[in-house]
């Protein structure tokens, strides 16, 4: 009797040991967001929720962020391994400081910057903002591209009156006609829309990518150390991440729920509208041609040229290719 019972128990403990070693073997990855959680960050949440990362033996921990620069710093210092940030911020950081962080995957192949106006104002293109009051928040990265945008559309900076103010005040200012135009990210436009709705008015949006500003924005970036020490993990991570992106845009409600499950502050309806409002930044002519995630040398060069121009840097001083590592993501 004792012998017979000892075999199953031995098998059981071996199985337990095996599963324990399996869960030990799961690779831990710290993922860095560039801002607070919301619909625009949903791919990573839904990927975890759907088990896409578990499938490839990766356990993800999400660190919330406070801006692209901070995200880059935290990845550079090793607090996080991989994350998302604006590739423009990374280009600037590498051009200035050569931080050990590389871009490995392009999430937004179009930049989210846009003008928001009241429908009744009759502003339909960038050229129409001539002589208008434009309000923006002091720290948004949109500001650095504004002169370039105006130049491409035949305007000078003196053609508009620019006001910098607290982001919370922008919506009310637009609604009360304290300003004619507000600079916003496409992902935030719906918040202005709901404010406008309360006040009984409607808004129009003029994306800057329709007005000649063609470049990459939010990308997946990773520390050089992570890429060097765990290349295999990086590859598996990116394939799971890509799967998560496609899933999120195919199932915005599930993606929104996944964010809400981890971060109850992010409510589901808002997250769904955000996902839908950024769809064109991911699914567009660029990604149709190159595939989502791909960073082409040509468009990267365009991105760097815009960055250098906007920041008064010498275009030839720095090779944007040094910012990218393409070995970790292959289009499936």
């Amino acid at each position: 009797m004792p012998k017979r019972s000892s075999l199953p128990s031995l098998l059981f403990s071996m199985a337990a040991l095996f599963t324990a070693s399996l869960s030990l073997a799961a690779d831990k990855v710290n993922f860095q967001l560039d801002w607070l959680p919301g619909g625009d960050k949903s791919p990573i949440y839904v990927g975890i929720d759907q088990g896409f990362f578990a499938e490839v033996d990766i356990e993800v921990r999400i660190n919330q962020g406070r801006g692209s620069t901070e995200a880059i710093t935290r990845i550079a210092t090793g607090t996080s391994d991989i994350g998302i940030a604006d590739i423009v911020a990374l280009l600037q950081a590498r051009a200035a400081d050569n931080v050990p962080v590389k871009a490995v995957y392009s999430l937004l192949s179009q930049a989210p910057h846009a003008f928001v106006v009241k429908k009744e104002a009759g502003i339909q293109s960038v050229a129409d903002v001539k002589g208008k009051k434009v309000a923006t928040s002091p720290f948004t990265s949109s500001n650095i591209f504004l002169p370039l945008l105006l130049e491409k559309n035949g305007l000078k900076e003196s053609d508009i009156t620019l006001v910098k103010t607290d982001p919370g005040a922008l919506g009310p200012m637009l609604i009360t006609d304290a300003t004619d135009v507000v600079i916003s990210w496409l992902t935030s436009v719906d918040r202005y829309r709901s404010q406008a709705k309360q006040a009984g008015t409607e808004l129009d949006v003029i994306p800057w990518y329709d007005a000649g500003l063609e470049f990459y924005a939010t990308s997946v970036i990773a520390s050089e150390r992570f890429l060097k020490e765990r290349p295999d993990v990086a590859k598996r991570f990116l394939s799971a991440f890509h799967k998560s992106v496609e899933f999120a845009f195919a199932n915005p409600d599930m993606a929104a729920k996944a964010v809400n499950k981890k971060v109850p502050e992010a409510d589901i309806p808002t997250a769904i509208t955000t996902i839908n409002s950024m769809r064109t930044l991911v699914y567009n002519s660029v990604s149709e041609k190159d595939g989502i995630g791909t960073i082409t040398p040509e468009r990267l060069q365009l991105t760097w040229q815009a960055t250098a121009k906007a920041q008064n840097l010498n275009v030839t001083d720095f090779d944007p290719e040094s910012v990218v590592d393409r070995r970790f993501y292959m289009e499936q």
Binding site: W35, L36, G38, N63, Q64, R66, E70, T73, R74, T77, T79, P167, G168, G171, P172, I175, R191, S194, Q195, Q198, A199, P264, E265, A266, D267, T270
Partner: protein, 255 residues
């Protein structure tokens, strides 16, 4: 009866403000994204799960109180050193002024890089904001000890330790408590600032989250929470003083 009225008058005055606020917002048709009405704030408050509130509340109170205790722990010995040595007083004081006048928000990202992303940078930020008034008030208090008592201590050949512990330090108690009262309100501000910079919980984080999604009434609900905590913590310091150091209160407050 009269005494009770006198005691609760401030609270009643505050409560009377609420309908007034509601009425003004209603009459002037102030939109919620500018100044939400109390009833809207209340709805926003109810809409957030109680456990969530408790979680955020606890995170902020924890950082504020721990940071505050840490700053006391640092300030009191520092004040003793500065009182005992005029050299240290002259060298440390300008340094403290520099630290105090540095905008903590500006060095916060640095603190995160140095101290990591956990609770440490939040405690450090809270502590940096809080410690200055405590050091200054403690130093002032200890230096206000009557010189006769120092002469008495010297004539008794009392040790430096006893001179501090039995004379200077108790003499500084009223001053220390003024410093602590300023400090505890700053500790809440420090905790909130630190949550703006790096946190995934806490009322400051919640305010930032709410405003970045334009949920202004929800942000206001959190702000009211913060004011209530500030008041309660401030009152706690007063209670501690009244219970354990009643002698240090002015005569009319001792009852």
């Amino acid at each position: 009866m009269n005494k009770a009225l006198h005691r609760y008058l401030p609270i009643l005055a505050l409560l009377a403000l609420i309908p007034l606020w509601e009425l003004i917002c209603y009459l002037a048709n102030v939109p919620n994204y500018i100044l939400p009405r109390p009833s809207v704030i209340y709805d926003a408050f109810i809409n957030v799960d109680k456990m969530r509130w408790l979680e955020h509340l606890w995170a902020t109170v924890r950082v504020a109180v721990l940071g505050f205790l840490l700053s006391i722990f640092i300030s009191l010995p520092l004040a003793v050193l500065m009182v005992q040595s005029s050299f240290l007083n002259r060298t440390l004081f300008p340094l403290l002024v520099i630290i105090q006048s540095t905008p903590v928000v500006a060095i916060a990202p640095l603190l995160i890089v140095i101290l990591g992303a956990g609770e440490a940078p939040r405690l450090a930020i809270t502590c940096l904001i809080t410690f200055f008034p405590i050091v200054v008030s403690t130093t002032t208090g200890m230096l206000s000890t009557p010189s006769e008592l120092i002469d008495l201590s010297r004539s008794l050949k009392g040790s430096v330790f006893r001179q501090i512990w039995q004379i200077r330090f108790p003499f500084a108690i009223p001053h220390i408590f003024s410093g602590l009262k300023v400090g505890i309100t700053l500790a809440i501000i420090g905790a909130v600032i630190s949550e703006f910079v790096a946190a995934e919980k806490g009322l400051g984080y919640f305010v930032q989250f709410s405003t970045s999604y334009f949920k202004i009434p929800q942000a206001f609900a959190a702000l009211l929470f913060l004011s209530i905590i500030s008041l309660l913590l401030f009152q706690t310091i007063r209670w501690i003083q009244a219970i354990f150091f009643a002698w240090s209160l002015p005569a009319e407050e001792q009852k």
